[in-house]
Structures are given as C-alpha cells and as structure tokens.
C-alpha cells in the first residue's frame, strides 16, 4: 500500500514538472514575444520596466529563464500581475483557489452521486420509459452549450422566479457592515463543512460495518448525523456568521446546479453501460439464486462492480469537467480561478495567466491522484504493487 501510494506521488511530481514545462514553453513559443508585449504594456509605469525585466531575468536565455521560473515557483514567487499591478500572482491565486476548489468538489461529488444513482436505476430497468427518458435528457445536458445552460438557469431561477441571486459571490449591500471579510467567513464555512462531513462519514462507517442492518442502527446513524449538523449550525449562529454564510451558499446554488447538470449525464451514461455489462456476470445470477432481495442484487452486486470502470472514467473526465467549471465560473461571475484565467488571458496578463494555468494543472493532478486512490480502495484486486497473496 505504502509503496503504491509513494509510486503514484512520484509519478505525480514528474508529471507536474512536465506540465509546468509544457505550459511555460508553449507560452514562450508563441509568436510576438510575450515578454515584449508584457513590458510594453502602457499600464506598467516606465520606471518599473527595467527593474521588472531584470527581476524576471528576461535578458537571459530561455532555459535559464525556465529554471528560474521553476525555482521561483517552488518558493511561491510567480511574478507580478500587471493587470492588477503590483499585486503578486501568488496572492491573487491563493485568494481565488478555495472558491474554485469548493465549487469544483461540490459540483463533481454531487454530479457523480446523481449520475451513479440514476445510471444504476436505468440500467436495472433497461428499455423502460425511464431509461429512454433519462438517456435523452442526459445527453441534452451533457452536450449543452455551457453558457446557454447557465443563461437559461439564471433567467429562470434568478430573473423570473427570483429565488436565487443573479450572480457573483456575495450580495455587496448585505456585507457593508459585516464584521468579517467574505473570505474569512468562507474559510470558516469550508472548514465547518469539512468537519461535519468527516464526522458524518465516521458515524456512517462505524454504524454501517456489520452485515445485519437493523432499523435501530439506521435510525441512530440518521439521528447522530442530524445532531452533528445542528451543532455546526448552532456554532455558526452563535458566532453571528450564519446570515453571511447563508448568503454565500445562496450564491453557490446556481453555479453548482449548472455544473452538476452539465456533468451528471457523463457518469450516468457510463454507469448505465458499465452496469449493462455487469448484470450479465455470473455473480449477479448467483446472487439472484441465493435469494437475495432485488435491491441487494442490484446495489451490492451489479452496481458495486459497475462502479469501478465508472470511477476510472471519472478520472479521465476531470480535465473536461474543470474546463466546464472555469467557463461556468465566468458565466456566474464567480470570482474563482476560472474567472482570473479568462480575464488575465484576455488582458494579456501573462504571468497571471500562466500561474492560473499551472494552478489548474496542479489542482487537476491532485484530483487525479485522489480519484486513483479511491479506485484502489474500491477494487480489492489492485495489489498496490506487492505480490498477490499466494495461491492455494
């Protein structure tokens, strides 16, 4: 196990290095010498130019520049943005990253869950109306043009029904007298949710271990989870943060829903196809012969095994879903990584764009790694690089 994880981490670091190099040289290789565009930008004061040039080492050969970029990268120096001159790139990215992180994780987890559940149902009831309907609706969302979908949702829920705020991260008028900056509240919120999730997970895990599920155990699990959640809310309320957190949550709903709608069908269709294969497996027939209830055959046999290839494809689709996420952020003026990336690209803010691109890559790499680990945890046949247990 340890060796397997270490091996994956090693690969991760190498891949990261190559990725940074590729992004760096790709942008360097662009015609019209970016550094000149950069330096001649009228927004940079004349006096700052010479110093910047030296600071960035632009007078040195590309390979030296690259090495110093890498060195700077690992010391947290990504240069200075010039569209927001003189703010350091690192600073901007650190501010934006958590927001993208939360959006991306919530939406992906949600869409995976929804896709998994739906795929499971429609594969089990293959050929039924619900199968056809879900497939067609799923394809429509899966191939929808993101900006269009965002617009329709905004138009429906924010503009016409007025249930949710139009866009952005917070409602400025509410925050005028707020005792904390929005990032602080957001940070507490994320932390609180993480703690609650871990607690709920631990409760479910410790109560769900046995094979005999009694009504009492299930009830207890629900009660405890609800208790933990209520306690979290209580803490937030007593600190006076609840209104502000609620405001952020309300702003998150539409982007999360959009991303979920865009992504769930991928998982759903894969899950369906994958499960259509597992239902033909002998162990599923054996499970029926064993007289297990239909739901158990479906969930613990067909779906559980169909989950494995679905997780693999989830890993493969992370990059695409990241792209979709960045576009969606822009549509909702969600001030995350995506918005920074697009704005800086359009403004020719080259250090910021590179930084955002690199961060996106790192972020994806980590997501990739987590999904890999998840897969290894789900499939007992992965031998973590060790010898398989002896044959009998």
């Amino acid at each position: 196990m340890r060796r397997y994880v270490l091996g994956r981490v090693g690969q991760l670091v190498i891949t990261l290095f190559i990725y940074i190099a590729l992004v760096y040289f790709l942008l360097q290789a662009m015609p019209g010498d970016i550094s000149m565009i950069y330096l001649q930008n009228p927004r940079i004061p004349q006096a700052a130019r010479e110093e910047l040039k030296k600071q960035l080492g632009l007078d040195q050969p590309p390979i030296v520049q690259f090495l110093s970029y890498i060195r700077n990268f690992f010391t947290g120096n990504l240069g200075v943005s010039f569209s927001q001159y003189p703010r350091p790139v690192w600073d901007i990215l650190l501010e934006r990253l958590p927001r993208t992180l939360v959006l991306f994780i919530t939406a992906n987890a949600l869409s995976f869950y929804v896709g998994f559940m739906l795929g499971r149902v429609i594969a089990w009831r293959r050929g039924a109306t619900v199968d056809h309907a879900a497939t067609v609706v799923g394809i429509a969302f899966w191939t929808a043009f993101y900006p269009l979908l965002s617009l329709i949702l905004i138009w429906l829920f924010a503009y016409t029904l007025k249930w949710l705020p139009l866009n952005q991260f917070i409602e400025p008028s509410l925050w005028v007298y707020a005792p904390w900056p929005s990032n602080t509240v957001f940070g507490y919120m994320v932390f609180g949710i993480a703690v609650i999730s871990i607690a709920v997970f631990a409760i479910l895990w410790s109560l769900g271990r046995g094979q005999r599920k009694t009504g009492r155990k299930i009830g207890l699990a629900w009660a405890l989870s609800a208790g933990v959640f209520a306690a979290g809310l209580g803490v937030a309320a007593s600190a006076g943060m609840l209104v502000y957190m609620w405001d952020i949550v309300r702003h998150m709903v539409l982007p999360v829903v959009t991303l979920t709608l865009i992504n769930f069908a991928g998982t759903m269709l894969l899950m369906r196809d994958s499960m259509l294969e597992t239902v033909e497996e002998d162990y599923v027939m054996a499970a029926r012969a064993k007289g297990l209830p239909d739901a158990v055959v479906r969930d613990r046999y067909a779906a559980r095994n169909a989950l494995l290839p679905t997780v693999t494809s989830l890993v493969l689709s992370l990059a695409a879903s990241m792209s979709g996420g960045l576009v969606t952020e822009t549509m909702f003026s969600w001030p995350g990584l995506g918005q920074v990336l697009f704005r800086s690209a359009l403004a020719n803010d080259y250090p910021l764009a590179t930084g955002a691109l690199v961060f996106t890559g790192i972020f994806l790499l980590i997501a990739h790694f987590v999904a890999d680990m998840l897969y290894a945890a789900l499939d007992p046949r992965i031998s973590y690089g060790g010898e398989p247990v002896a044959e009998g």
Partner: protein, 293 residues
C-alpha cells in the same frame, strides 16, 4: 468481422442513433440551403452574415417577415448567420475529429504492436495530455495568437489525438494483436507496417469511428466556448453569434432579446447532441452487450 451492411442493420435498431442521424441530415440540408438562398432569394447586402445590414429598421429587431429570426445588434440577419455557420461547424467538427481519430488510431495501433518504449512513451504522453484543461489553455493561447477556424481545428485534433483516445484505441488494438492471424501474417513474412495497416487498423476502425462522433461534439463545443469568449479569429459561427450579443450587452436582459442567443445556443446543443447520439448508436454496434434485446 462484420460487413458494412450488417453494421448498418445493428445501428438501425438503435433509436437514439437514428434520431441523431436524422438531426444531422436536417442540419446538412439546412447548411446546404445557404448558397441557394444567398444567391437566389436574399439580397446580399442585407443578408450577408458578416457585413450585411438592413437599413429599414432599428436593430436588434425582433423576428418579423423579412427576418424570421430577427436581427443582431448591428443589423445582420440571424437566420442567415445560422445557416451560413452550419457548413463551417460541419467542417470544423469533422476535420478535427478526423485528425484526432486518424492520428489516435495510428498511434494506438503502433503502441499496441510494438509495445516497449513506443508504448510507454505514448501512454505517458497521453497521461499528461489528458491533464490539460483544453479550454482554458486554448483561451490563453488564443488570446496571444488569434487562431482561425482551420488552425483551431488542427490544434484541437492533435490535442485530442494524443490524449485519452490513444489509450482506448490501444487497448482495442491489443486485443486484436494477440489473435492468431496476426502471428500467421508475421510468419508469412508480412512487414510491420503492412500488418498494422491491413490487420490491426481495420479491427480498431469501428471503435475509432465511434470516438470520431464524440470528438465532433467536443470540437464544436470547444469552438463555441472559445468564440463566446472572443479569442478566436473567426468572423462568424454559432459561438460568435452569442459573443456578439454578449459584448453588445444584450445577453443580460435575458428574456427580452431571446432571438440573439437562443437560436444559436440551441443549434450548438442540438448539433452536438446529434453527433453524440450517433456515437451511442455506434456504441451498440461495437459493443454487443449494450445491444437492445
């Protein structure tokens, strides 16, 4: 291997695939109407998709007799733009998908056939390429060099080719490689290229074709997104139509100017969905377990 007629017979069973095909054909007819309309029916000065202008009314004009889908903020006819762009979307989608699949098939077949270093190299490369968030990357690249449609299609095709598609096609090619007739061909003195071309590739082809459909979807969506952000050097496309509405500030008056974004948005979605559906139909041809029972 099954014959083309047999493939078609299976494909025909798939309702989703057929529905997709019908939509694609409709788009084809729609796109082909453009030159006819432009030459014979429409006044080129008014209905030109890029430089047309109708001086008789205020713009953007709501749908009316002369402009069935209205006009955009600078007085161009929406229907004409929609029609004109259709052909280009076909070209873009098919070109980039062709490149990705031809290159991907070839690399996959090579990696499977030679194994060893070739295999390791392309697989690691694919791992890295798959990490690339294409759209943001192309936005950054596009903001530096304004790509036109043609070079955009080529870049996209190659990016896709070296990514996941190589891995999938290689896995398929590997299954073919271990079949006895490959050994027979080797013993009979067939040279490598010949074996790859005449034995491995034909067996991978149905799967390649399937991925071609999915890649058309991906290409069109990417183009639309990038056009929407205004980083491509394209004078007219469905994405550009929405971009025009957005930059002129009409997008955020949602319901009122629906004809500025709804027709083009729907066209993109429908077109992509159609190719995707054909892909799913083909999936049933390639993958017997998915077939209707």
């Amino acid at each position: 291997m099954r014959s083309l007629a047999q493939h078609w017979a299976i494909f025909r069973e798939s309702r989703i695939g057929i529905a997709g095909l019908v939509v694609i054909v409709c788009f084809g007819v729609f796109g082909m109407m453009w030159p006819l309309m432009f030459r014979n029916v429409w006044d080129p000065n008014v209905y030109h998709p890029v430089v047309g202008f109708d001086p008789t009314m205020m713009h953007p004009a709501a749908p009316c007799r002369g402009h069935l889908l209205g006009t955009d903020p600078i007085g161009r006819d929406i229907l004409a733009q929609l029609m004109f762009s259709t052909g280009r979307e076909f070209l873009l989608g098919v070109l980039s998908a062709m490149i990705s699949v031809v290159v991907g098939t070839f690399i996959g077949a090579m990696a499977a056939y030679y194994g060893g270093f070739t295999d390791a190299f392309f697989m690691r490369l694919a791992d890295i390429v798959m990490l690339f968030p294409f759209v943001p990357l192309l936005v950054v690249v596009g903001s530096l060099v304004r790509l036109d449609m043609f070079s955009f299609a080529i870049i996209l095709g190659f990016l896709e080719a070296f990514g996941g598609i190589t891995i999938i096609l290689k896995a398929q090619a590997l299954q073919v490689k271990v079949r006895p007739y490959i050994d027979a061909a080797k013993v009979a003195g067939g040279d490598d290229l010949h074996i790859i071309r005449s034995h491995i590739i034909p067996n991978v082809l149905p799967l390649s074709f399937l991925y071609m459909m999915f890649n058309v979807t991906a290409a069109i969506l990417s183009e639309a997104t990038l056009s929407f952000f205004g980083v491509l050097n394209i004078d007219m496309s469905w994405g550009m139509m929405i971009h025009t509405a957005e930059t002129a500030g009409y997008l955020f008056d949602y319901g009122r100017y629906w004809w500025l974004w709804l027709p083009s948005g729907l066209a993109i979605t429908l077109f992509c969905a159609a190719f995707y559906m054909v892909g799913r139909g083909l999936d049933e041809v390639v993958n017997p377990r998915l077939r209707k029972r």
